[in-house]
Amino acid sequence: MSTSGREKIRISDLHAFYGESHILHGIDLSIHQGELVTLLGRNGSGRSTTLRAIMGMVGRRSGSIMVNGSETLNLAPHRIAHLGLGYCPEERGIFSSLNVEENLMLPPAVRSDGMSVEELYEMFPNLYERRFSQGTRLSGGEQQMLALARILRTGANILLLDEITEGLAPVIVQKLAQVLLKLKERGLTILLVEQNFRFAAPIADRHYVMEHGHIVEEVHAHELEAKTDLLNTYLGV
């Protein structure tokens, strides 16, 4: 396990529930500063729920979720982001009653050194061109850029990204990979839920494999080749 850099997220024995459904059954994981870590697994294995549990968006949680050294389990959900977290939901969460720029400016700053709007428009020129369009009029790829840009502006330095490549054209997936590498260079910490293993493999430092609400395997980037068969069994590819 990588021990370089500070620990940004440490989850111990996390259980999460939606109503009566017990979704996560004792998750343990940790992520260090500057790492890009993925959660792999089939649909319904609990990857999105792990991100939602970190953000306080599940019905009930038990165990421990430390963010930047603070316990968040008993924190009001709206305080969690202010520990430096930025969350990009699977459905992207672009607001249709807001235009592109309003969407971009919506989340309040959670730290002081967020990227400026100019920087973000430079990174995603399409957003600048369409800044007065209704948020949901954008293409899927543009909406994804907007969902990402929106949390980069807040200064969040831990990003939780849920299936950001889902349904996007290969050229946009490539662009997203470049953006993530750039963010990693800046020292941001990224936890990525990903279905597209070919997107995740070259950019990630580590992978956790989930199944039925458990973490069943941890694979470091350098072990990928040796564990390909194992991964294929878990992911069913």
Partner: protein, 295 residues
């Protein structure tokens, strides 16, 4: 007598003005309902009682404390808004996670209780509230006599509705409200205190009803059932305009007031039912309402 194509212009403009005044109250009340419904997804049956509370608060402020109309116009909406905040925190919040039918029944119960309390104390005959001195009298226009206070009602309510619309549609605070209406949980994950926003929104929506109550005190008699009479029509207007549309609530409120006024002139027998007739037609042709978005 001024006539045009056989139409008595004095009568017509007179009814149009009455319609516009009623429409001003419809707009203020349905705007408050729409704002509350947008974020809380509950239909506030107590909105009419809050309007009544506003009128009584103005009357009591004048008669017990010597607070004049102008001061009441500022203080009463704040007080009614504060009452709404207490109501949201203490009564609605605990059942917010249950089916919205429960909060609807709860607000209905609150409305009945308030109405009953005021009937018990003040009786149901209604009390008079004098028009403030500065707004007494009127202007003689070529085609009608325009009482100053009635003109003031229309102007003030359009200003308040317009300012509210601007705040919601054009400012950052309004963007929070619009986004919270769409996806409150994500707003929470972005670090926005949604429960606080819900409380303040409810207080603001109810405060609008309180404002309407103060405005109404000098023209309608201040009575315990003034709100329940109005609210039924306002619900029809909200349905016509489309639930949750801010601009729609304002325009439909004013528009339906005018429709009602015109009906009073051309076919007075239908004037009390015309709004419900429009509601039926709109529901048949456009179930989401004139300004509502199809789900």
């Amino acid at each position: 007598m001024a006539t045009f194509l056989g139409i008595n212009l004095f009568g017509l403009f007179g009814q149009l003005l009455v319609g516009l005044i009623n429409g001003s109250f419809y707009a203020l009340l349905s705007l408050g309902l729409a704002i509350i419904f947008g974020l809380l997804k509950i239909i506030n049956f107590a909105q009419g009682a809050m309007y009544m509370l506003g009128a009584f608060a103005a009357w009591m402020a004048l008669n017990y404390l010597g607070i004049n109309y102008w001061l009441a116009l500022i203080l009463v909406p704040l007080a009614v808004g504060a009452a709404g905040i207490l109501m949201e925190r203490l009564l609605i919040r605990p059942i917010a996670k249950e089916d919205h039918l429960y909060s609807l029944l709860l607000t209905f119960g609150i409305a009945l209780m308030l109405q009953g309390m005021f009937t018990h104390v003040f009786g149901s005959s209604g009390m008079a509230y004098a028009i403030p001195e500065a707004l007494q009298g009127g202007i003689k226009l070529p085609f009608m006599y325009l009482p100053t206070y009635r003109a003031w009602i229309v102007v003030a309510s359009i200003l308040v509705c317009g300012a509210t619309w601007w705040m919601i549609e054009k400012t950052r605070l309004g963007a929070y409200l619009r986004a919270g209406t769409e996806n409150a949980q994500l707003m929470q994950a972005f670090g926005i205190n949604v429960p606080l926003m819900v409380t303040l929104t409810f207080g603001f929506g109810v405060g609008l009803a309180g404002f309407a109550g103060v405005m109404a005190a000098p023209v309608y008699s201040v009575s315990p059932d003034m709100g329940s009479n109005l609210l039924i029509i306002v619900f029809a207007i909200v349905v016509i305009g489309g639930m949750g549309s801010i601009g729609g609530a304002i325009l439909t409120g004013l528009g339906m007031g005018i429709v009602e006024g015109l009906t009073k002139y051309f076919y007075p027998e239908a004037s009390s039912t015309v709004i419900f007739l429009v509601m039926v037609i709109v529901l048949l042709l456009k179930p989401a309402g004139l300004f509502g978005k199809e789900a």
